[in-house]
């Protein structure tokens, strides 16, 4: 293991999060990226790396042209989408720490509501051959995930009403975040339980993330560069203390039905252990977290996987309100993907940066260490 990371997040940028942007995806991507560069205090000519993940459709070179970056020396894509989203920071660290880039731009943008919606059924093209999942009735991500989340929920005694208690806490954060889709719109448990079933008996409407049009971007820099920017009137230094991926054999990103133990989140536990080893920290030292919440049912699995509670205690933590305002382990203080927006997980990373800078609308007082948790990747940020 390489020891604590030697990079820092120097810039963040985001567009408005809407349901109908009326613009091209590249214009969203360029806006978020330009804001991130401006936020960092760097010159465009200092940005020499471009990183996203494979599900992003923006061309590196089109983005370069739109931003006027004179020379790109490093490009890379992390696997898949949201649950590998924080792996982009690991690629940035790999590029920077090996001297192949100095300042890397990480970006993600899409019109995920007004154009190609992830939530739409995927039957494949007309006359497509039979398939092991789709043809048997798993046609949307909600169904695909609910099918393998259910054994974990059953093992932990978690009902949809329990998930409702969790969503109420996420929505309380969102209600106080002006950038959130659900700004000013908290809900009660009754509201949650009255929302219609989408995947009975696992997920109701309010258990789903927000299909979103928008873009988000980050600048990752060498630690000495970041320190200089910070000391010259920039934002507080937010160090990428650790970032890890883990893809154990047998786990699958979406159709995760074939792993040896359906209840044990092996991928997440590997990521977490590697993070603690890299950073020298433990779960008890995390002040604030974001957890990738494409669905509410994803949260308890990762919460337990990262050791934020002991195995089997996640239901108690939910019912005690530990995730929401005033809780002992605040999670998704932006409202998460459920309450703020679904920027494929990267808007949760932006919230971690804000928490470390002290600029979150739901700032956790004195927060110095943030966990940005995904399933097969995760990151620890620290304010220096």
């Amino acid at each position: 293991m390489s020891g604590p990371g030697k990079t820092a997040v120097t810039g963040i940028g985001q567009t408005a999060y809407t349901k109908e942007s009326g613009r091209t995806v590249m214009s969203l991507c360029a806006e978020a990226s330009a804001k991130a560069i401006a936020d960092s205090g760097l010159e465009r000519g200092q940005i020499d790396g471009l990183i996203s993940f494979t599900m992003d459709t923006n061309s590196d070179m089109d983005l370069q042209a739109s931003l006027g970056l004179p020379m790109v020396r490093f490009t890379a894509k992390a696997p898949f989408g949201g649950e590998g989203a924080y792996a982009t920071f690991q690629l940035a660290a790999a590029a920077i720490e090996s001297g192949q880039a100095n300042n890397v731009l990480i970006f993600r943008a899409f019109n995920e509501r007004s154009e190609a919606r992830f939530g739409q059924p995927n039957y494949g093209p007309q006359g497509a051959p039979r398939d092991l999942h789709r043809s048997l009735g798993l046609v949307t991500p909600g169904q695909v995930y609910a099918m393998w989340h259910k054994p974990f929920l059953d093992a932990r005694g978690l009902t949809n009403e329990d998930l409702g208690h969790l969503v109420v806490q996420m929505r309380a954060w969102a209600a106080n975040n002006p950038a959130a889709w659900f700004y000013g719109r908290p809900i009660t448990l009754e509201d949650h339980q009255r929302s219609r079933w989408i995947v009975d008996p696992v997920l109701r409407l309010y258990d789903f993330c927000q299909e979103t049009d928008g873009g988000v971007a980050f600048i990752v820099s060498r630690l000495d560069t970041a320190r200089a920017l910070s000391q010259n009137g920039g934002s507080p230094l937010v160090r990428v203390l650790g970032v890890q991926q883990a893809w154990p054999l047998g786990e699958s990103m979406m159709y995760n039905y074939y792993k040896s133990n359906l209840v044990f989140p092996e991928d997440t536990v590997h990521v977490a252990n590697a993070l603690w080893e890299q950073t020298g920290l433990s779960p008890a030292e995390i002040d604030v977290s974001t957890i990738y919440d494409n669905f509410s049912s994803s949260i308890p699995i990762s919460y337990e996987g990262y050791g934020l509670c002991k195995p089997g205690e996640v239901r108690d933590a939910i019912l005690a309100g530990e995730f929401g305002p005033g809780g002992s382990t605040p999670v998704n203080t932006n409202g998460g993907l459920i309450g703020e927006a679904y920027l494929h997980g990267l808007n949760n990373a932006a919230e971690c940066v804000r928490q470390m800078r002290g600029t979150s609308p739901n700032q956790i007082e004195g927060a110095k260490v943030a966990l940005c948790a995904g399933r097969q990747c995760g990151m620890v940020l620290a304010r220096e």
Partner: protein
């Protein structure tokens, strides 16, 4: 000519009325879903083997088509097979759905396609 998919042998089996899985020629390991190589020994040589068609429900959900609301919902289930494999199927008698329920595979038509569906067996009838 359309390239053959790794799972096509499975559907050819369904059309012949048998439930198949791959058996590794190198180490004998069964595998599902179909893949070109064996995760245990790495061999890319394999043969078809006929499964018993028995199983147990591990979890089930209701699948409603999001845009074709008039279509009947389906009870999709994750089935554990005695051969040590798992398979996604949907239940022909959803009123008997339950975790731990014993099921038997029936190759039957749904929306004009032959599929490996399951029906519960035993006391719940």
């Amino acid at each position: 000519m359309q390239a053959k998919r790794d799972q096509d042998f499975f559907w050819e089996g369904i059309d012949r009325g048998v439930l198949l899985a791959q058996k590794c020629d190198g180490c004998g390991q069964l595998r599902h879903p179909p893949q070109p190589g064996c995760a245990k020994c790495g061999s890319d040589q394999w043969s078809e083997t006929v499964l018993s068609g028995e199983g147990t429900i591990l979890a089930f959900i209701e699948s409603v088509h999001p845009t074709r609301r008039d279509e009947e919902s389906r009870c999709v289930c994750l089935v554990e097979l005695p051969e040590g494999l798992r398979m996604i199927s949907s239940l022909l008698d959803p009123e008997n759905a339950g975790n731990g329920a014993a099921v038997k595979f029936e190759i039957a038509e749904h929306n004009g396609q032959l599929l490996p569906l399951v029906r519960t067996v035993g006391e719940s009838q």
